[in-house]
């Protein structure tokens, strides 16, 4: 079937979908890059630099949202780290803003007061945390208790 209704013709709703997640420090060093879209390496590098340029110039009086190419970046700063999620322009800003915070709280529990160095030395574990909470560009699990229980279980495996 080609057409559904008039309402939909005007604004096609895309599903909640994350294009990429980036964690960068203020100097622009990437601490995590998770891509949910195909990019070649040059393009990834360019995106990383652009996001850094866009996000770091903003201050606390600004919103946590920035238009970015044809998408938007939802970001929040924690100490020297910027957690950025790139989504479609009509996605729900606040839902992602809190998804970031939820993720940060999990990292904080998991690494016991997480700091930037934890993400550097345990980069391969951070990917596991991400995959527990976000998969295929969608939010997979939101319960901190459930995620931490699973991480603890994985931790105990050899």
């Amino acid at each position: 079937m080609r057409l559904k209704r008039l309402g939909e013709l005007c604004k096609r709703r895309e599903g909640l979908e994350i294009r990429f997640i980036l964690i960068q420090n203020r100097a622009g060093k990437t601490r995590l890059a998770k891509w949910y879209m195909q990019f070649d390496d040059d393009e990834k590098q360019k995106l990383i630099e652009e996001v850094h340029a866009v996000v770091t110039v903003r201050d606390a009086k600004h919103t946590n949202f920035v238009e970015f190419r044809n998408f938007k970046i939802i970001y929040r700063r924690y100490a020297g780290l910027y957690f950025c999620i790139c989504v479609d322009v009509n996605d729900n800003n606040l839902a992602y803003l809190e998804a970031i915070h939820n993720f940060v709280e999990v990292l904080n529990e998991y690494f016991h007061n997480v700091c930037e160095l934890d993400l550097v030395f345990n980069f391969y574990k951070v990917y596991t945390v991400v995959d527990e909470m976000f998969l295929a560009g969608e939010i997979r699990e939101t319960s901190q208790t459930k995620v931490l229980k699973q991480l603890l279980m994985l931790q105990s495996l050899e």
Binding site: M1, R2, L3, K4, G7, L9, C10, K11, R12, R13, E14, G15, L16, A33, M37, F39, E43, L47, R58, K61, H62, T63, N64, F65, R69, N70, D88, N92, L94, A95, L97, E98, A99, H101, N102, Y110, F111, H112, L117, V120, F121, N122, Y124, Y127, T128, D131, L135, A136, G137, I139, R140, E141, T142, S143, Q144, Q150, L151, L152, L154, Q155
Partner: protein, 955 residues
């Protein structure tokens, strides 16, 4: 809770990372890395078999090096080996390496797939999840081919663990998005919908995403999800803040799941079942009520989570656009946010209100916030918030507040950020034109624009003011007077000189009676600017001068002297020199009569879509041409729609894909008056454009209202207008100075419904307004069109809507005609258009595999079943645009059918009441020759030919 020490488990890795961090320079880092690479290489090549731990450690180091930005060209095999380890930590590193680095090493894919297959079959939930995450992260077609059939089984199997189901759902989503053809629909789909009832909220969270994606393509198959989603939502929304335990986030029950459910519901119209609908409305009301309750926590997380749900609720209310009460409540809620201390909320409220402004139910409510929004425009610190405020003002603008809004925007323009000036200029120009009751206000506004932000006034804007002044004789004298005054300013923008030059050249005679603006004064004023202007402007001024010679013979000697001056006749610029020479000769050899004929006043410009609108649309979707470009929304469609009319009154193309990409070769920006442009000025002066007013009053109006049979022939542009709608269903069908006709239509099977919106652009009431649909020839037996009568009077600035119900009885070749008649200021108006109903609207896309396609292709091999056309490309050859057009045309696009990936292959069935016509098509672009070959095969001969003709005109 678990604590993790630095690099526990892999000391060597931690040491290596420390070393890298201690490197003082890039060179030192590279040196250290090369040393490590050599070490790892020798270990991998060494005779001694490495144990799993070492292998894991080295693979992990390689990964780290890669993530630092260095190329890695070995280690893939070792990583693949890790996949078959039975230790979780080793397997995990193996999968991570594969997920991050796999694309380059496809020869390993078989080995990888094998390992994944084993893990999927292992019944060990941890291993199954690792494998599923790997598929979801890579998402390649090869993996889709290998696993698309297994994953649905895992997803709905009774004995799958919850965490496995979560991963399987999203893994399937990824594969479906990447290659929908690979995911077989079947018995599992019904069971997937029931995951909405699952006890585990995490499973529901993942499943909603999958269902949302699936139901977009197959809405009917997943309809049952509506009631399930509503009841799930209702349970969440009405639960107390602690009921959901693990899924309560800062006292808000399951915020993300609620948002996802609300988005799922936005894939559908309001529920038909009254009980379900009642329950949903109750939910929406509860959310709105909760927004008014005092917060349960002072934390921003609490209010953000709560408001995430609120904004999604409002989106759903806007999407339904049918509950006036809820719309107004939503608007009031957003109104409170407009003054909230959180910048985020002010921003989101402005953004959301922009869409509310386009609903007829809430437009008035939005307008009450005008002062707050104007204040936001003046005081917000974040430019993106100011931009939203400008968008909202634009959206809420109508005849009642246009003057206020335009003047506020003009004021803002003086201090606006450079980044958004051009957009504001365009918006002001559009509003000024759209809501101009008296055109002197319009002229003032545009001249103000040039004064305040001349650099940002693009050609489209000043072309447009010239078009309008040329077409409206009531404003010409005023325009001449105003530009004359504006040019007095010691420093005026070059765009002002251009507009001034053109207008005085055409209408300077209207103010020549006043000694203060006598012809010599006009001339010396213009000429005082001449030397500081660019070549293009000087060229334009030279044309003004020759027009002056015609208008004011007394200036002839002075002007000839100017033309004759060495600086003109021997100008280094060829264009200027040629103009000077030719104008000088023309003024000397031509008799006054000839001169008067050659330099006659410009005829009115044909009315088309405003070039400024086209420009704004282009601007809103910048063609960065990057990989991120796809899936773009068209932000302007909201804004532009944002006037009073809840219809695409001024948007010409709200069709989803093609235009959003901004790639559609936009209709050439409403033929700017060529004569105002620089280069071709000369040609125009002599040739005189043959433009005619598109809508002349019919010569003699019949005394009796004519029957529908004796309508006139379609207007000359009718075919062109019709062609615009072959691949899309919405847009502006017709527009002239008086009337705009917008179309929205939807088709399903052999039925269609079309909404026609007739907008009176003038301030005067139309009388005896009667649009009728006529079936020429045999069409009556082929197509049934039911229309409702519309009111015979259309007030100035008002819009009336006409609904057409269409049924396709059998295949047809000619579209029905739409005859529009009315009286405007006593003068009868009549014209006939072609209604955009073409046979392809009744296409039902058909997916099929390659072999089926070829089999059917062969079955339709009679020569008369095939129609073929070879033609030159009229638009840039862009595969994405072509795809969008073919989809808009209605056929399914079949991938991997044609051996040549450049070619497009499609299939569909034309549904008519009497019969169905199967159609196959193939489009072969030849980029080198800029040609296409289009082949259509259908079971009915005239249909092949007709479709071929229709489609060929689209490229």
């Amino acid at each position: 809770m678990p604590a993790v020490s630095k690099g526990d488990g892999m000391r060597g890795l931690a040491v290596f990372i420390s070393d890298i961090r201690n490197c003082k320079s890039k060179e030192a880092e590279i040196k250290r890395i090369n040393k490590e690479l050599a070490n790892i290489r020798s270990k991998f090549k060494g005779d001694k078999a490495l144990d799993g731990y070492s292998k894991k450690k080295y693979v992990c180091k390689l990964l780290f090096i890669f993530l630092l930005g260095h190329d890695i060209d070995f280690g893939h095999m070792e990583a693949v080996n890790l996949l078959s380890s039975n230790k979780y930590t080793e397997k995990q590193i193996g999968y991570l390496f594969i997920s991050v680095l796999v694309n380059s090493n496809s020869e390993l894919i078989r080995l990888i797939n094998n390992a994944i297959k084993n893990d999927l079959a292992s019944r060990n939930p941890t291993f199954m999840c690792l494998a599923l995450h790997c598929i979801a992260n890579v998402g390649s077609r090869e993996m889709g081919e290998a696993f698309a059939a297994d994953i649905p089984r895992i997803l709905v199997a009774g004995d799958s663990m919850d965490s496995v189901k979560q991963s399987a759902a999203l893994c399937l989503l990824r594969l479906y998005k990447a290659s929908p053809d690979l995911v077989p629909m079947g018995e599992w789909t019904a069971r997937v919908v029931h995951l909405l009832n699952d006890q585990h909220m995490g499973v529901v969270t993942a499943a909603v995403s999958l269902i949302t994606c699936l139901c977009k393509k197959n809405p009917d198959d997943f309809k049952t999800c509506i009631s399930l989603a509503v009841s799930r939502l209702s349970r969440i929304v009405s639960s107390a803040s602690t009921d959901l335990q693990d899924y309560t986030y800062y006292f808000v029950p399951a915020p993300w799941l609620s948002v996802k459910l609300l988005r799922l519901l936005q894939c559908y119209p309001p529920p038909e079942d009254a009980a379900v609908k009642g329950r949903l409305v109750e939910c929406l009301e509860t959310v709105l009520n909760k927004a008014q309750e005092p917060p349960k926590s002072k934390k921003v997380q609490h209010s953000n989570a709560k408001n995430a749900i609120l904004f999604e609720t409002i989106s759903l209310i806007i999407h339904y656009d049918s509950e006036p009460n809820l719309l107004v409540r939503a608007c009031n809620q957003l109104g409170q946010f407009l003054q909230h201390r959180e910048t985020n909320l002010r921003y989101l409220a402005l953004e959301s209100m922009c869409t509310l402004a386009s609903s007829e139910f809430s437009h008035e409510a939005v307008k009450t916030h005008i002062d707050t929004v104007i204040n936001a425009l003046k005081t917000e610190r974040d430019v993106s918030v100011r931009q939203r405020a400008a968008d909202l003002l634009y959206a809420m603008c109508d005849r009642s507040n246009a003057k206020q809004i335009v003047s506020e925007m003009l004021r803002y323009l003086e201090t606006a950020d450079y980044a958004i000036r051009e957009e504001i200029v365009l918006k002001v120009a559009i509003l000024a034109e759209k809501y101009a009751v008296d055109y002197s206000w319009y002229v003032d506004t545009i001249l103000n624009l040039i004064r305040i932000a001349g650099d940002y006034v693009s050609e489209e804007v000043w072309y447009r003011v010239l078009q309008i002044v040329t077409n409206r004789d009531d404003v010409q004298g005023y325009a001449a007077k105003t530009v004359f005054e504006a040019l007095q300013a010691p420093a005026c923008h070059e765009n002002m000189v251009k507009v001034g030059g053109y207008i005085l050249g055409e209408f300077g005679n209207l103010i020549a009676g006043d000694p203060r603006s006598s012809p010599p004064v006009q001339f010396s004023l213009l000429h005082s600017k001449f030397h500081l202007c660019s070549v293009a402007t000087r060229a334009l001024l030279l044309s003004t001068y020759i027009k002056f010679i015609n208008l004011f013979p007394e200036t002839k000697a002075t002007i000839q002297a100017v033309l004759r001056a060495g600086s003109q006749l021997r100008n280094a610029d060829v264009e200027l020199q040629q103009r000077a020479v030719e104008y000088l000769t023309l003024s000397s050899v031509a008799s006054t009569d000839v001169l008067a004929t050659v330099l006659e006043e410009m005829p009115p410009f044909p009315e088309r879509e405003s070039s400024i609108l086209a420009k704004l649309k282009r601007k809103k979707g910048p063609g960065a041409g990057s990989a991120l470009d796809d899936g773009r929304r068209d932000p302007s469609s909201n804004d532009i729609n944002g006037g009073v009319e809840p219809t695409p009154s001024t948007v010409s193309t709200p069709s989803p894909s093609a235009d959003l990409l901004g790639l559609r070769a936009a209709p050439p920006p409403a033929a700017p008056p060529a004569s105002a442009g620089a280069g071709n000025l000369l040609v125009d002066v002599f040739d005189g454009p043959a433009a005619q007013p598109s809508l002349g009053p019919t010569p003699e109006e019949a005394f009796l209202s004519p029957g529908p049979e004796d309508i006139g022939p379609p207007i000359p542009e009718a075919d062109e207008l019709l062609n615009k709608f072959v691949c899309k269903n919405n847009g502006v069908l017709f527009e002239n100075q008086l009337l705009q006709i917008g179309v929205k239509s939807e088709f399903r099977q052999n039925l269609g419904r079309m909404y026609l919106f007739y907008g009176n652009k003038t301030s005067v009431q139309f009388q005896n307004f009667s649009p009728t649909v006529v079936h020429p020839g045999d069409l009556q037996t082929q197509l049934a069109v039911q229309t409702k009568r519309v009111a015979a009077q259309v007030d100035g600035g008002a819009q009336v809507q006409q609904v057409l119900n269409i049924e396709c009885l059998r295949d047809f070749l000619t579209p029905p005609l739409l005859s529009v008649r009315f009286r405007y200021g006593g003068a009868p108006q009549a014209f006939t258009l072609k209604l955009p109903v073409t046979i392809n609207k009744f296409f039902q896309p058909t997916e099929m595999a390659a072999q089926d396609f070829f089999q059917r292709w062969k079955q339709l091999s009679l020569p008369q079943q095939e129609a073929q056309k070879i033609f030159k490309a009229n638009h840039p050859m862009d595969a994405e645009v072509t795809k969008a057009k073919l989809l808009g045309f209605g056929s399914a696009l079949l991938d991997n059918v044609d051996p040549n990936p450049e070619n497009f292959v499609g299939a569909g069935i034309i549904q008519t009441k009497a019969l169905q016509v199967g159609c196959l098509l193939r489009l072969e672009p030849n980029a080198q020759a800029q040609m296409y070959r289009l082949t259509l095969r259908t079971s009915k001969e005239p249909v092949s030919r007709h479709l071929c003709e229709l489609l060929a005109q689209q490229f």
